[in-house]
Subunit: 295 residues, 2 copies
Amino acid sequence: MREPLFRRLALIGIGHIGSSLARARRERGSIAAELVAHDSAPAVLDRVAALGIADRIEADLAAAVAEADGVILCTPVGTFAAIAQAIAPHLAQGAILSDVGSTKQSVLRDVGPLVPAGVHFVPAHPLAGTENSGPDSGFAALFEGRWCLLTPPPGTDPDAVARIAELWRRCGAMVEEMEPGHHDRVLAIVSHLPHLIAFTICGTADDLADESRRQVLKFAASGFRDFTRIAASDPTMWRDIFLNNREALLEMLARFLEDAQAMARAVRWGDGSYIEDKVNRGRKIRRSLIELKQA
Amino acid sequence: MREPLFRRLALIGIGHIGSSLARARRERGSIAAELVAHDSAPAVLDRVAALGIADRIEADLAAAVAEADGVILCTPVGTFAAIAQAIAPHLAQGAILSDVGSTKQSVLRDVGPLVPAGVHFVPAHPLAGTENSGPDSGFAALFEGRWCLLTPPPGTDPDAVARIAELWRRCGAMVEEMEPGHHDRVLAIVSHLPHLIAFTICGTADDLADESRRQVLKFAASGFRDFTRIAASDPTMWRDIFLNNREALLEMLARFLEDAQAMARAVRWGDGSYIEDKVNRGRKIRRSLIELKQA
């Protein structure tokens, strides 16, 4: 068996992603010799203990990261600044600090300045997850065949970057480095905007008169249903993502709204060829995904 | 075995829905003793002959409906007026004329006035279909467990309504009657608006600079992918649906755009509780669907 990548890995936050990582580590012996789990919610730590997915649970943040050579933040991105503040004095020399947040400029902004000298900072984002949340929803195979994007700041120790890359590869993921601003723009269109739209249309439907709302649920299979799966996601996590990728999300949303207004205009004025062109572009994109085996 | 519902059933248009209906009839002997298939595209008729899903193919519209006691329009709703005009003089006395169109006020407007005395007009809409199109994409089980909505005009012969209802039940569907204006409003939110949004966001992504567009495809699994499936649908069919449910679609789209603008404002001004509330409503709707076994 390969040598474990970390002697002691501390996971801060054991929700869907954290518990999946803990499970992947339990199934694949080569990730960390010891796994310490911290969560701010005592009930979550009790579940982690019952599930047996960590070697040690630790309610105290400072104690959780002490002597760890790897620390991964797995909480909503809005909590990162406070957590970084709390753990910074307790991080071991030579330790690698990483995260799984969906917004990367904000992580560099909130965590970067607090990282002590001698600690390596390697932000990461595994593009994986279901609409479920909490420690019971994780599973070891979550990252298999999925991308994990790394956004290390310029000058980061290449060995530290390689170690985080290898951690995700050992979880089954494919790894790529990306500039954080570019990451945030790409994620705004592939993930954040679709989620914002899904939440919004659910709200629009929920505002309908009682009789119509009942029928929306009854006849949801006609298309609406496809939008609701991703709308079942964790509210705190998504609030934090939206607020921490504001610029890119608002830009993509503005483009989308312009395009939706143009579509409304085509419908109002009976511009059939405009509508057909848009549908054809949708088909083309779908075909590309099928060809790339991403559909 | 039960007596077939129709002596001779004519299907006008053999795409995804028409060919699924033809297959369901072939598998379940009790729908029609004879099935005649018409399509304006010779290539489609050749495929229908090769697939063996009709007893007779008929390139001439008048000949297709002659002596049929049941005629079902399975073409895009934009073609209905011209088809009704062409077949009206050839419909047999006592025949039932129905359709499968996704917009029902337009069908009453376009077809209703052309229906000859002595012919029963029972508009119907099976809420079924995949993103695929054409005669090869159909399958007999398509309607199983799905809804079929009937919107007969006031005064329609109850026996004719019952016969169309029974046809869809024998295809495995559940049947409900609905007022056509209400049908169009409900479908606008559960089906037409989600499709319009999906087409639009695919176009928005397609307009990005090359590098970003490539990455949208590469990282589509993060949410975007869920929107592309329904965006792969037939362009002519959807053009016709949008143009023939204009009022209801524009109203639902306007509500959605207002809600999306409100969400944009919350993101811009950092109104976290507004965002959380919207996500919670999305979750609630998803949970309702799961409880209703529609998820």
